[in-house]
């Protein structure tokens, strides 16, 4: 008995520049009540497999092989046969709750539409069913929320609406394509619980597409690992995550930053070579940047949003401070204040010993030239019309105008070498590079002025884990060599735990707690931080199962 059976699936996209094979010879099975996780890095073809199973691939896709959903053949089926299947036998949950819903239709109506697509019920009955579904997916005040527009709901609530649409007709197969990637960890934990409960209730089989090994450990029964369009390893979750057979799986798992969650493991951490930066500088050295009682408000009048409230934080020479918190907690705003991009409404910012608010003109510019910045999106943060060399040279042109062209070229070459990019890439455009290479170009650009402070705002969250590993290694190594301080903004506690010596936890624009990373993350003082850490799934199915039942037990008491 299977709800999904894929045999020898191959998908090729025909584009203007020729055929691009995306998936080759993939065979998978999902049984009722079972969750199969399809994992892999970007471009591995995992989402293509998911879309193929519902016949939702783009028009330029050529599909061969067999896909059978609950006995119905999908490959080659016409649109109306597929429409009968979708939403009733197989349904889907997507990655982006922000765009997955029609912005102009009320959410209740969108759920009711799926109900009416497959059941002959009146409008009123469908509307009642929609309210009932909203209640089932844990939306508070479902009667009222049903008449809300998507923009009036939070990301987590929107994802619940999408799930309500997906389970409206109790499908035999649920396909979830990165269902929690766009959400905060605490919301992710709730959504995963919801998906698990919905599937268990009705014996639904789940195909879970994800890149997050923690989510896999939390949710999946079996795992299929994809690499370049092919499945390289399949097996039970304990097998694949704890005793991976294929070299690529081992490599992938080794690259995943692991959150150390229990005391016994601490010894293991202590054995790791101490990060270079911390050893060099005595803890008492002068702060490189200091925010004192900084408050920032956006907007005016009754629409004012308090982005930061009395935030104080210090980064000392050579140290890395991790700034963590959920979305909208103010971490990026705090980083922007340190960069002088946002002027605080109250409080002071001291950069390299000078009060930033009182420094203007040329001194301010030279002060700010001591700060390098790396931002999240490697595509958007580099000018697509400039070559790599020009991107890296730009800060020199701005801040060191007296520099001659050969000197500048030498400095650019030096910076590119530092971030381990070959000279050959210098003349290329950013678009011709991979995500990891682009992020290293950003880093070279940030470091070319030999800054004393590097501000990195989610520098690796758009990257695959193995690429993230390389970029983080480069930053850490350079920090050891060059001795700059680093303000590291991230939502990923595991990355921060590996990377930062001290951590500051922000919550709704205020500092919740701060301290040395290991102490704070292992023995958090506040309930908020404890919940934040508990919500992070670890990529060890046995350990994760234990944590989850402990959490559930805690919740019931």
């Amino acid at each position: 008995m299977t709800v999904l059976s894929i045999e020898n699936l191959a998908v090729t996209f025909s584009t203007d520049t020729g055929d691009v094979p995306a998936v080759r010879d993939v065979s998978l099975r999902v049984r009722p009540g079972e969750t199969l996780a399809l994992v892999g890095e970007s471009g591995s073809g995992k989402s293509t497999v998911a879309l193929a199973a519902t016949g939702l691939l783009a028009q330029n896709a050529r599909v061969s092989g067999r896909i059978s959903v609950d006995g119905t053949e999908v490959v080659g089926a016409d649109e109306s046969a597929l429409a009968r299947l979708r939403g009733r036998t197989v349904s889907m949950v997507f990655q982006e709750p922000a765009t997955a819903l029609d912005p102009l239709s009320r959410v209740g109506a969108q759920i009711a539409e799926v109900v009416r697509n497959h059941r002959r019920v009146s409008r009123a009955e469908a509307a009642r069913a929609a309210v009932e579904l909203l209640r089932r997916v844990g939306v508070a005040e479902p009667e009222r929320r049903a008449s809300a527009f998507p923009f009036q709901l939070s990301g987590g609530q929107r994802q619940r609406v999408v799930i309500a649409m997906a389970i409206a007709n109790s499908p035999g197969l649920l396909i979830a394509d990165e269902p929690t990637t766009a959400l905060d960890v605490t919301v992710q934990a709730e959504i995963l619980d919801l998906l698990r409960a919905s599937a268990a209730d009705s014996g639904t089989g789940v195909l879970l597409v994800t890149h997050n090994m923690g989510v896999v450990a939390d949710f999946a029964d079996r795992v299929a690992v994809m690499l370049e369009g092919e499945v390289v390893e399949t097996g039970p979750v304990e097998e694949v995550l704890l005793r991976p057979g294929h070299e690529y799986t081992r490599h992938l798992l080794a690259a995943v930053p692991r959150l150390t969650v229990a005391e016994p493991e601490r010894a293991k951490y202590a054995e790791k070579p101490e990060r270079a930066g911390s050893a060099k500088e005595p803890a008492g050295s002068a702060p490189v940047v200091e925010l004192r009682d900084v408050s920032v408000r956006f907007g005016r009048g009754h629409r004012t949003v308090k982005a930061l409230t009395d935030v104080s934080l210090t980064v000392r020479a050579g140290e890395t401070v991790g700034l963590v918190g959920e979305s909208a907690s103010g971490k990026s705003t705090a980083a922007r204040v340190a960069l002088g991009l946002v002027r605080p409404d109250s409080g002071s910012v001291t950069l390299f010993g000078s009060d930033l608010a009182r420094t203007r003109g040329r001194p301010r510019r030279s002060l700010l030239s001591g700060v390098g910045v790396v931002l999240q999106d490697p595509v958007a943060s580099l000018d697509a019309r400039m070559s790599v060399a020009e991107c890296v040279a730009e800060p020199l042109r701005v801040h060191q105008r007296g520099m001659s062209a050969p000197q500048r070229r030498a400095r650019v070459a030096e910076a590119l070498e530092l971030v381990r990019l070959s000279d050959g890439l210098a003349k290329r455009g950013p678009r011709e590079l991979s995500g990891g290479q682009r992020q290293r170009v950003s880093l070279a650009r940030a470091l070319v002025l030999q800054p004393r402070l590097l501000v990195a705002d989610e520098p690796t969250s758009a990257l695959d884990v193995s690429v993230q590993r390389t970029v983080l290694e480069v930053i850490a190594e350079l920090q050891g060599e060059l001795g700059f301080a680093c303000l590291f903004v991230s939502h990923d506690l595991a990355v921060v735990q590996e990377f930062a010596q001290r951590v500051v936890v922000l919550r709704a624009g205020a500092v919740e707690e701060e301290g040395p990373t290991m102490t704070t993350l292992l023995r958090p003082e506040t309930e908020y931080t404890r919940r934040l850490i508990a919500a992070v799934p670890v990529p060890d199915p046995v350990l994760q199962r234990r944590r989850r039942s402990a959490l559930a037990a805690e919740a019931t008491t």
Partner: protein
């Protein structure tokens, strides 16, 4: 309450824009040879008469003072006197404006009614022969000068087929205009042709953009049929940018009326503007400019209000 506040603020903004327009028109009035005195006394006035008039009306006073004076006469509905038609500009506009409004509103409706479904139809059949044919026809319609198109229509429908007269309804009142609807067909068609071309293009682009949105995929994944998705979701989402464009299209419509009225001998604002331009009748020209500017401001205001009704997000953002 929220809506009242919004409307009040939006109206105030519109008034501010109109005030700026009056400043521009005022400056243009003073750039005229002989200034506003000649505008009111007419081209036959002597230098002494002008000087006397200027003194009498305070036109030798500083410009800001004069602006206030100008604004006061404007508020009394006094736009000056035509050089050539020997009548108050305000009276001329009062007579002609309703007729032009009839022409432009009918043209806009006749243009939009086919343009919107056509654009959606093209989007669904993107890059298929039908889409290419309609696109080509659209470009032809858009690039054909209105004047030429009108002549062509007259040639076909008046000379050859003898279906419609080549003259628009004559007569000064609206009831006289509506008494002869057949005569309105050709002028309205001529005005509508470029609307069809332009707005089917906008609608095609907006529909294509929306068809690629994630919510379409979600609806498909829920088993909704393509036609249902198109009308229930894509249509409304695609309409909002088109509504916004419509507001900015008001001056273009007036520009079209200029040619259409001339061609079909329909004595509206366009013809008034045309003859005033030929006889250098500046007070009439500036009066028309003022009226068209106000119409544009009202057009964009209406477009904003309609958009607010269609798209709940606009309401949330702006209040």
């Amino acid at each position: 309450m929220e809506t009242t506040l919004y409307l009040a603020r939006r109206l105030l903004q519109a008034l501010a824009v109109i005030l700026i327009v009056t400043v521009v028109v005022f400056c243009l009035l003073h750039a005229l040879p002989g200034g506003p005195a000649r505008g009111i006394l007419g081209p036959q006035a002597t230098a002494q008469q002008i000087a006397a008039f200027n003194h009498e009306q305070g036109l030798d006073r500083p410009l800001p003072v004069q602006y206030v004076y100008y604004l006061r006469t404007l508020l009394h509905g006094d736009l000056g006197t035509s050089y050539t038609l020997n009548d108050a500009v305000s009276r001329l506009i009062e007579q002609r404006l309703p007729k032009t409004l009839v022409l432009t509103v009918l043209s806009a409706l006749a243009g939009l009614a086919p343009a919107i479904p056509l654009g959606m139809w093209q989007a669904v059949r993107r890059n298929k022969p039908a889409d290419h044919v309609v696109t080509a026809l659209g470009f032809v319609a858009y690039s054909t000068p209105v004047y030429f198109l009108g002549l062509l229509l007259i040639l076909v429908f008046t000379q050859t087929l003898r279906w419609f007269p080549s003259q628009a309804p004559q007569g000064d009142t609206l009831s006289q205009v509506f008494a002869d609807p057949v005569a309105l067909v050709l002028p309205v068609l001529t005005g509508a042709a470029s609307m069809v071309a332009v707005f089917s293009r906008y609608m095609r682009a907006a529909t294509l953009e929306n068809l690629a949105e994630d919510y379409v995929r979600t609806a498909r994944a829920g088993g909704s049929r393509p036609a249902a998705i198109l009308w229930k979701h894509v249509f409304r989402n695609s309409l909002t940018p088109v509504i916004a464009m419509l507001g900015y299209y008001v001056p273009v419509l007036f520009g079209g009326a200029l040619v259409v009225e001339q061609l079909f001998n329909y004595p509206g604002m366009g013809l008034l503007f045309w003859s005033a331009a030929q006889s250098s009748d500046y007070p009439v020209l500036l009066g028309c400019v003022l009226v068209i500017s106000v119409a544009t401001v009202i057009g964009t205001l209406l477009a904003d209000v309609v958009q607010r009704i269609v798209d709940p997000r606009v309401k949330a953002e702006r209040t």
